[in-house]
């Protein structure tokens, strides 16, 4: 007997299964159709509905109810066209007639693996719990013998070092009478003085041209006008060739990852470079999807991206999880550090970035022994991505706070805490507290931090959140034009506005960091490892991070 599900609606999902349910008010709706046009998922469509119409006419009006057939909006229950809650419909609606509402009891995860293909998306870990970083408080307030500083009037030097510092005993100093001189014949590894919050690696490709260039313009302005030396990492995918040969290159960290995308252009541009890049980041892992390589899905590989990356259009660009030409990570790290250093004539700091992991200290110890390792970036589980398996985003990865702290204390144990700077990433500014999260990580031992999602949210109005809102970055349908490669979408984003907001963000973060450091009496040197400045109201966290407990 044929199953009844094939004959009627029993086999379909109900709206209650879906993560977002469209609330639509028929009497406010003007039937303009903008919402259905803008919806990136085609989750709503025009529909023919029977409507109840109430009219009152004549000198003694009495309400008359009639039922008539009319047009309206209907949400589809096809799992491939589920409403992602982006809210673009409400943005374009001239009459506030429509908005998506989160459905707490949805059963989305049970259905989003049709065809045996696991759920893939962009975004971040869907978790609304308060992160450790947001639990940390700055409690060492100078109140008595040590006066707090005036954040507005006092001069603060909010800068950090990116690059390998020599051990004190290795400084090539010459003592002549009562003066010290430098033996210029001895190699001193390159070190950059930068603002301690960097823009982490988000590729030209994962991001739209307007987003990427907006950020780049903002970074250049911060450096050249505001005197805030922010650097930005390219992510894997190279950068526009005209920028490679421009004087702005010094504000960029060029990332090389396992797919080597964009590096053909970069290598060819080396002889024409007017400036050295700020640094080279070798990506071994990403906190949001540990063990995975980069993934730029075919939807996004349009002409411009294909050209910059040197690949055909409309193909999936999957970087392998590891650098395939190398036998082991130790070998990979050692060889790549040396060869990248050599490519730039040892004038550019080269460092690896790994995902947060229990084995981070092992990687760190390897680096500590390698004189070419300029730093280590550790990317925690709350980092973001343009495309990943949902299971990687949700269930794999290591929180950044304890991972960073463990690595810093390991460096303290071997006395190299100043020689090998640690940079922390993954969830910095997750809930909007960029400066506070950065300052907390610095006091736990980071020399600086990376932020990515924060920039997308604050500079471009990314709609994503920790309830899986939007997160369409992987399929090139970003309704804000941040991660789209289709000009019809990315023209929605004004690069000048992005640049302005990037400048706002860093100026505000600079001011907020001063407000944090001033009452603690710190101004001339970044309080790296000043763990006595921090407290937390959970004993287990206090113990793990070796900071004080306060409640």
């Amino acid at each position: 007997m044929e199953s009844k599900t094939r004959l009627d609606v029993n086999g379909q999902l109900t709206l209650k299964e879906l993560p977002y349910i469209i609330r639509w008010e028929s009497d406010k709706c003007t039937r303009c159709g903008q919402c259905t046009a803008v919806c990136p998922q085609k989750a709503i469509e025009p529909a023919v509905l029977v409507q109840r119409l109430v009219t009152s006419e004549g000198p003694m009006p009495l309400p008359q109810v009639v039922r008539q057939v009319g047009q309206g909006i209907k949400q589809v229950t096809d799992i491939e066209r589920y409403c992602v809650g982006c809210g673009m419909c409400s943005l374009v609606c001239p009459n506030d007639a429509i908005f998506p509402e989160y459905n707490e009891v949805n059963k989305f995860a049970f259905h989003k693996n049709q065809g045996g293909s696991p759920y893939k998306r962009g975004g971040r870990r869907n978790s609304t719990e308060v992160s450790t970083l947001d639990k940390l408080k700055f409690t060492r307030i100078s109140m008595l013998t040590d006066p707090a500083l005036d954040a507005g009037r006092h001069e603060f030097h909010i800068r950090t070092l990116l690059g390998r510092n020599l051990a004190p005993e290795e400084m090539p100093l010459i003592i002549k009478d009562d003066d010290l001189g430098l033996d210029e014949t001895v190699f001193i590894p390159p070190v950059r003085e930068i603002f301690p919050i960097r823009i982490g690696g988000m590729s030209f490709g994962a991001l739209s041209p307007n987003m990427w260039e907006g950020m780049a313009m903002g970074v250049a302005y911060l450096n050249e006008v505001e005197n805030i030396p922010v650097v930005m990492c390219t992510g894997e995918g190279g950068m526009p060739p005209r920028l490679l040969k421009s004087r702005f290159l010094k504000y960029f960290i060029l990332q090389i990852a396992s797919g080597y995308f964009g590096w053909d252009e970069i290598i060819h541009a080396i002889p024409h470079m007017k400036e050295d890049p700020a640094a080279i980041e070798i990506k071994y892992g990403q906190g949001a999807k540990p063990g995975d390589g980069g993934l730029l899905m075919a939807f996004k590989v349009l002409d411009l991206i294909a050209k910059v990356r040197g690949v055909p259009t409309k193909v999936d660009l999957a970087s392998p999880p590891t650098h395939q030409t190398k036998y082991s990570i130790e070998e990979a790290v050692a060889k790549m550090l040396t060869s990248m250093s050599m490519a730039f004539d040892f004038r550019v700091p080269v460092y690896p970035k790994i995902s947060g992991t229990k084995t981070a200290t092992a990687v760190l110890n390897n680096l500590a022994r390698n004189p070419f390792a300029a730093a280590l970036t550790i990317d925690g589980e709350d980092g973001g991505t343009g495309a990943a398996y949902n299971v990687s985003l949700e269930k794999t990865g290591h929180p950044i706070a304890s991972n960073l702290r463990e690595c810093y204390l390991n460096l303290v144990k071997i006395g190299k805490q100043n020689e090998l700077p640690l940079f922390a990433a993954g969830g910095v500014g997750k809930t909007g507290s960029l400066a506070a999260n950065a300052a907390a990580l610095i006091m736990l031992g980071a020399s600086g931090v990376d932020c990515g999602k924060y920039i997308m949210q604050a500079a471009a109005g990314c709609l994503g959140d920790e309830r899986n809102r939007c997160n369409l970055c992987n399929i090139g349908r970003c309704p804000k034009g941040i991660t789209a490669q289709d000009p019809r979408l990315y023209r929605r984003l004004d690069p000048d506005k992005v640049a302005e907001r990037v400048v706002d963000i860093f100026k505000a973060a600079d001011a907020e960091m001063k407000k944090i450091f001033a009452p603690m009496g710190r101004s001339t040197q970044l309080p790296i490892g000043m763990s006595d400045g921090l407290s937390v109201s959970e004993k287990a966290i206090a113990e793990q991070l070796d900071i004080s407990y306060a409640c």
Binding site: N165, M171, L173, D178, L180, G521, S523, P527, I528, M530
Partner: protein, 376 residues
């Protein structure tokens, strides 16, 4: 806050001079403790310059253990100084047996290099300190030739009388005294300034906001003696030791280590490339809090420096042959009342004032201009 009182002279004087200077600065300390370091000793120690002097406090049992240990190592007592506490009329209670005892080196060490001797003294001091740590039966402040340390809780003047320094003074040409302001109540004698390591001493007025990273940096250097840290100010002494003894920097670079210039301020320095590197490599040693530090180099040069924000008072005045380095000018007045006040020095944020062992003149190193000037 604490108050500091250092005097350097070409003739012997009594530590009561330092204590009387502290009396004039009483608004800045609460009389919760006194620390004294005497160098270049006269009086009964004048003829004992080459013999290391162990300074500290012992219980009866501690004394027995210490003596046994010193005999085992081969140190022979050469001379013993004890305060005459039984003449003291005040309220202070004795903690035990106070001593400054000069020893002859063990025979094997007599002919060795000064460095080996120095290591032996540090090792012995730390071991004795460890032996008495549990029950405070042995408290050791210093073990070094021609140098005595005394510390006790109480009003500085009272402590001076308690030790009988008014009746039978210990004499020296370089004396550091700190009047303590109690900030944490649980007073530990090891937390009292001045601090000592291998001939270097410092005392500080202020609070070190960068204490934890500095401590972590020092303790990870692998240098014996970088222990303790009951006070955040102890690191100033170890930084001095580290840059002078371990890194062999000239003394004036203490400024570039603890309060480096901004990069834009370095242009006048002929050693710009060197100090840029030092600033980066010794970044964790930057002090960021309000601190006025007075110290003595191993060679006997006394100095005073300020933090880069100049948030603590500090004054130097005197005449050739005798200079006072004090927290406040009233302290200088108490020690050298007759002097040319126009020559008083108030080290500013770029300055490091130095007076060499002969106490002839004040040299002022200006870190920004890279120049040395002289006041005499």
């Amino acid at each position: 806050m604490c108050r500091l009182s250092a005097i350097i002279s070409d003739s012997y004087f009594s530590p009561m001079e330092n204590i009387m200077a502290l009396e004039t600065m009483k608004e800045g300390h609460d009389g919760s403790g006194l620390g004294l370091v005497l160098r270049d000793l006269g009086g009964e120690f004048q003829g004992l310059k080459e013999f290391p002097i162990l300074s500290g406090i012992c219980s009866k049992e501690g004394l027995r253990v210490m003596d046994e240990y010193m005999v085992k190592l081969g140190f022979k007592t050469k001379h013993l100084w004890n305060p005459r506490i039984k003449d003291y009329q005040g309220n202070m209670k004795t903690r035990g047996f106070y001593f400054a005892r000069a020893y002859e080196f063990p025979e094997w060490a007599e002919e060795t290099s000064p460095e080996v001797q120095s290591e032996l003294l540090t090792k012995t001091r730390l071991e004795l300190r460890d032996m008495g740590k549990e029950d405070a039966s042995i408290i050791i402040f210093s073990f070094w030739p021609d140098l005595i340390t005394l510390k006790e809780v109480g009003d500085p003047l009272d402590v001076g009388l308690f030790f009988g320094l008014d009746k039978k003074p210990l004499l020296a040409k370089n004396i550091f005294a700190q009047g303590r302001q109690n900030t944490n109540y649980a007073i530990n004698l090891y937390a009292c300034h001045p601090f000592f390591i291998e001939g270097y001493t410092t005392m500080t007025n202020g609070e070190n906001t960068a204490f934890v990273p500095i401590r972590e940096f020092l303790t990870s250097r692998g240098v014996p003696g970088y222990v303790g840290y009951r006070s955040d100010s102890e690191v100033f002494c170890h930084i001095l030791h580290y840059m002078r003894k371990e890194l062999k920097f000239p003394l004036k670079y203490y400024k570039d280590v603890t309060t480096p210039l901004f990069d834009r301020e370095m242009d006048e320095r002929s050693d710009k490339t060197a100090i840029e590197l030092i600033k980066r490599v010794l970044r964790p040693l930057t002090i960021d809090g309000p601190n006025c530090t007075i110290g003595t180099d191993r060679n006997g040069t006394v100095f005073m420096t300020q933090d880069s924000k100049k948030l603590r008072p500090g004054a130097i005045g005197g005449v050739p042959g005798k200079y006072a380095l004090m927290s406040e000018i009233c302290g200088v007045d108490a020690v050298v009342p007759v002097r040319d006040r126009s020559k008083d020095v108030f080290p500013m944020k770029y300055d490091m004032a130095m007076i060499e062992k002969d106490a002839k003149e004040i040299k002022i190193w200006n870190q920004k201009h890279g120049s040395m000037s002289t006041v005499n």
